[in-house]
Homo-oligomer: 172 residues x 2
Amino acid sequence: MKYGIAIFPSKAIQDEANSYRKRYDPHYALIPPHITLKESFEADDETINELVTELKHIANETDPFTININKVSTFAPVTNTIYFKVEPIQELIDLYEKMHTGKFPDNKEFSFVPHITVAQKLVHDEYSDVFGSMKMKNFQVEDKIDRFQLLYQLDNGSWTVFESFVFGKEHV
Amino acid sequence: MKYGIAIFPSKAIQDEANSYRKRYDPHYALIPPHITLKESFEADDETINELVTELKHIANETDPFTININKVSTFAPVTNTIYFKVEPIQELIDLYEKMHTGKFPDNKEFSFVPHITVAQKLVHDEYSDVFGSMKMKNFQVEDKIDRFQLLYQLDNGSWTVFESFVFGKEHV
């Protein structure tokens, strides 16, 4: 199966992102707004069980942290994806690095640019209009992050959460 | 925020359900195929933290179990929802009961009929056609269940997973 790892920001940020995604992102219905920590990778049941244990360790040794979104940006001219830029703090980079080393497949495709996609696969004129108008808006949001999620992909391209990993020691 | 509790069956069952939902369920894009354990309820942050602790206890004292789907059924004439009927074994009923007592809001609307919805809100003729043809098919599936998920609803009606609860003692 294909798995991926992501952070869902707060409901307020997801709602804001969805107000754009609904019109401008063909992945709108496939997954909630998210920050990708690890792009999709193949794993069988045995491997994923091992990785779940690793992910528990990673979550246990991570403290909740605050992220900041200060602007809208784009990957143009590589792709015309438009996104909320998440400031690349060390905590995010550490999570990313830990999920691309050791037992994890090192499926880094690009350098790590934490972001929440709000528009993609637009035709050029639409891209220019949307980015032009979003760039003018004031985005200043902060959000507390205290978990990440391991997801798998269904045949229709949508993603289902397999397991969530809450930061800090597990107390029951 | 509005929360709900559900079980996602295996990918194979989700894919099968989605092959119908895509055409016949307007909720197709809002949530993956699921067995609802607790219908949507309102909770503030403090309450949900308390309920998360309760859900951890419930998950800890539950062992993985097997569910069986043997037929397609319908809630007609109450609603024309068509669903994969999940045999109502004691383990499912126990989970349901524990989530509707004590600190949990007792938001039981109907008696508990475990099911995976595959079609709803059809016009009458379409309902008859779809149910007629699905009824003829042979559904005999079993699936191992080892977790449930707490989700919250976004403004667009879609559901994001807040936390997953894996059965049995938590070992890290």
